[in-house]
C-alpha cells in the first residue's frame, strides 16, 4: 500500500513541478502585460480550469496511443503519461491563480519598477519573489487537484498493478471489487493529505498577508 502512496506522490509532485514551471512565469507575465488579447487568454485559461479530467485523459490517450501522433515514444500506460495528463490538468489552475495573486501586487509595484528602469525580466523576478506566498498557495491547489484526480490517470495509466496504480485508481478498483477496507484506508490517507495541503495553504496565506500589510 505504501508503494502506491509513494507512486502517487511521485507522479503528482512531478506533475505539479512541471505545470508550475510553466504556469508561474506565464501567469506573472499575464498579470504584467498590457497587450491586446490578454483578457481573452485569462478567460480561456480560467475556463480550462473546469476541464473534466476524463476529457483530458482521453485527449492525452489519443495523443500517446501507438496510433496517435506521439505513439512512437511508447509513453502510454507509463507513469510519464500520468504526469503529462496531470500537468495538463493543473496547468490552467496554477496559471489562473498565479495571475490572480500577482495582479494586485503588480498594480502596486508598476510605477515604482518603471521609475527605477527595471527590465521585464527583473520585474518578472521581483513579482514572483514578492508574491511567493500566494503563488505557493496556487501550487498547492494544483497539487491537491493532481493527487485527488482519478479520471485522467486511469485512462492514460491503465491502472497497472505495481507500475501505474496510484491511490485514486486503487480506490476505484478496490471499491468495484467490493474490497472496501483497502479503499477506505487509502481514502483516509487522501483526506489526510488534503487536510495537510489545506492547512499549509492557510499558513502561507496568513504569512503572505503579514508581509503584504497594506501601507496607507
Amino acid at each position: 500500500m505504501w508503494s502506491i502512496v509513494a507512486l502517487s506522490l511521485r507522479i503528482s509532485l512531478s506533475a505539479t513541478l512541471i505545470a508550475a514551471l510553466f504556469a508561474i512565469p506565464i501567469g506573472t507575465a499575464l498579470a504584467m502585460g498590457r497587450f491586446s488579447g490578454r483578457k481573452l487568454i485569462i478567460m480561456f485559461s480560467s475556463s480550462l480550469m473546469a476541464l473534466p479530467p476524463v476529457v483530458v485523459g482521453l485527449a492525452i490517450y489519443l495523443l500517446l496511443s501507438r496510433s496517435g501522433p506521439l505513439g512512437d515514444y511508447g509513453l502510454l500506460f507509463t507513469p510519464t503519461a500520468m504526469i503529462i495528463a496531470q500537468s495538463v490538468l493543473i496547468f490552467p489552475i496554477i496559471l489562473a491563480l498565479t495571475t490572480e495573486a500577482v495582479s494586485p501586487l503588480e498594480q502596486n509595484y508598476r510605477r515604482l519598477l518603471k521609475s527605477v528602469n527595471a527590465s521585464k525580466w527583473f520585474r518578472l523576478r521581483i513579482l514572483i519573489i514578492d508574491a511567493r506566498f500566494s503563488i505557493f498557495t496556487a501550487i498547492l491547489a494544483g497539487f491537491g487537484r493532481a493527487i485527488a484526480e482519478v479520471g485522467a490517470v486511469i485512462i492514460v495509466g491503465g491502472n497497472i498493478a505495481g507500475s501505474t496504480r496510484v491511490m485514486t485508481t486503487t480506490i476505484a478498483l478496490e471499491t468495484s471489487k467490493g474490497n472496501l477496507e483497502l479503499a477506505l484506508a487509502l481514502g483516509i490517507i487522501l483526506i489526510f493529505l488534503a487536510i495537510m495541503v489545506n492547512s499549509i495553504m492557510h499558513i502561507f496565506k496568513s504569512m503572505g498577508q503579514k508581509y503584504h500589510r497594506e501601507s496607507r
Binding site: R111, S115, N117, E214
Partner: protein, 231 residues
C-alpha cells in the same frame, strides 16, 4: 542638464490632458513645477521620466530620449510607494536594476541609510516606517545610483512640518553636491526658498517658464499671479 519638449501632447479618450508643450529648459539647480490641482503637473513629470509615453511629440534630456536616459535620473512619488520588503531591500532596488555587485550595493547601502538617518531601521519592513521616514527612504533610493537629476512629485505634501524640514535638509545637501531637481510642489513659500527656476503649468500647458526671482516678482499671467497670492 537640458530638458527639451518637442510639441508634446498627451490625450486620453480624445481629451487632451497635456500639451501641446514646447519647452527648452536648462535645469541649473532646483526647478520647481507649480500649478493648481489637476493642471497636469504629475503628468508632466511622469512624461519627463518616460513613465508615460506622450501621445505625440518627443522629450529629450540632453541629446537622449527620456526613455533611454531613465537610468540617469531618480523619481520620488507623492505617496508611499514601496516594495513589500525591508528598508534595505527597497533602497537596493535601483542598484539591482543597474546591475551592481552585491558587495558594492552593501557598502553604498550603509552610506545611504546613514544619509537618510535610518541606520537603525535598515532591516525593518518598509511598511512600518512613518510618512517622513518613507520619503527620506525614497530620496536615498532615488540617489542610490548617483543620478544627475531627481524628479519629485510633491514629496512633502503629506508630511508634518518637522518631517518636511528634515526632508528639505536632505534636498539642500544633495543640491549643494550638484544634483539637479525637477520638483513639483504646492507650497509657494517652499518654492520661494528653494527654486532657481519655475515652471508654471496651467490647463495642461506650460504657462510660464522663468527664473524664480522674476517669476515671483512679476508673473506674466493672471493665473500665475493668483496662484502666488494663494487665490
Amino acid at each position: 542638464m537640458k530638458l527639451t519638449f518637442n510639441s508634446v501632447c498627451f490625450s486620453q479618450n480624445s481629451e487632451t490632458l497635456l500639451g501641446p508643450i514646447d519647452l527648452k529648459l536648462n535645469i541649473r539647480g532646483i526647478t520647481n513645477v507649480l500649478g493648481y490641482n489637476g493642471a497636469g503637473k504629475s503628468l508632466f513629470l511622469e512624461i519627463c521620466h518616460a513613465m508615460i509615453e506622450p501621445t505625440s511629440g518627443n522629450v529629450y534630456w540632453g541629446t537622449n530620449s527620456a526613455y533611454s536616459s531613465r537610468h540617469l535620473r531618480g523619481f520620488i512619488f507623492q505617496h508611499r510607494v514601496t516594495l513589500f520588503r525591508s528598508v534595505k531591500k527597497n533602497i537596493a532596488l535601483p542598484m539591482q536594476t543597474a546591475g551592481w555587485t552585491k558587495k558594492r550595493i552593501e557598502s553604498r547601502l550603509e552610506e545611504l541609510l546613514c544619509m537618510a538617518n535610518l541606520e537603525a531601521k535598515g532591516n525593518d519592513p518598509a511598511s512600518t516606517l512613518s510618512g517622513g521616514e518613507v520619503q527620506r527612504m525614497a530620496l536615498v533610493r532615488a540617489l542610490a545610483t548617483y543620478p544627475k537629476t531627481i524628479i519629485m512629485d510633491e514629496p512633502t505634501s503629506s508630511l508634518d512640518p518637522s518631517a518636511t524640514t528634515e526632508f528639505e535638509k536632505l534636498i539642500s545637501k544633495s543640491a549643494n553636491s550638484g544634483i539637479k531637481f525637477l520638483w513639483a510642489t504646492h507650497n509657494v513659500s517652499q518654492a520661494k526658498r528653494f527654486a532657481d527656476d519655475i515652471i508654471f503649468i496651467a490647463g495642461g500647458k506650460v504657462d510660464e517658464s522663468n527664473e524664480a526671482d522674476k517669476f515671483f516678482k512679476n508673473p506674466r499671467s493672471i493665473k500665475a499671479k493668483n496662484y502666488i497670492k494663494g487665490i
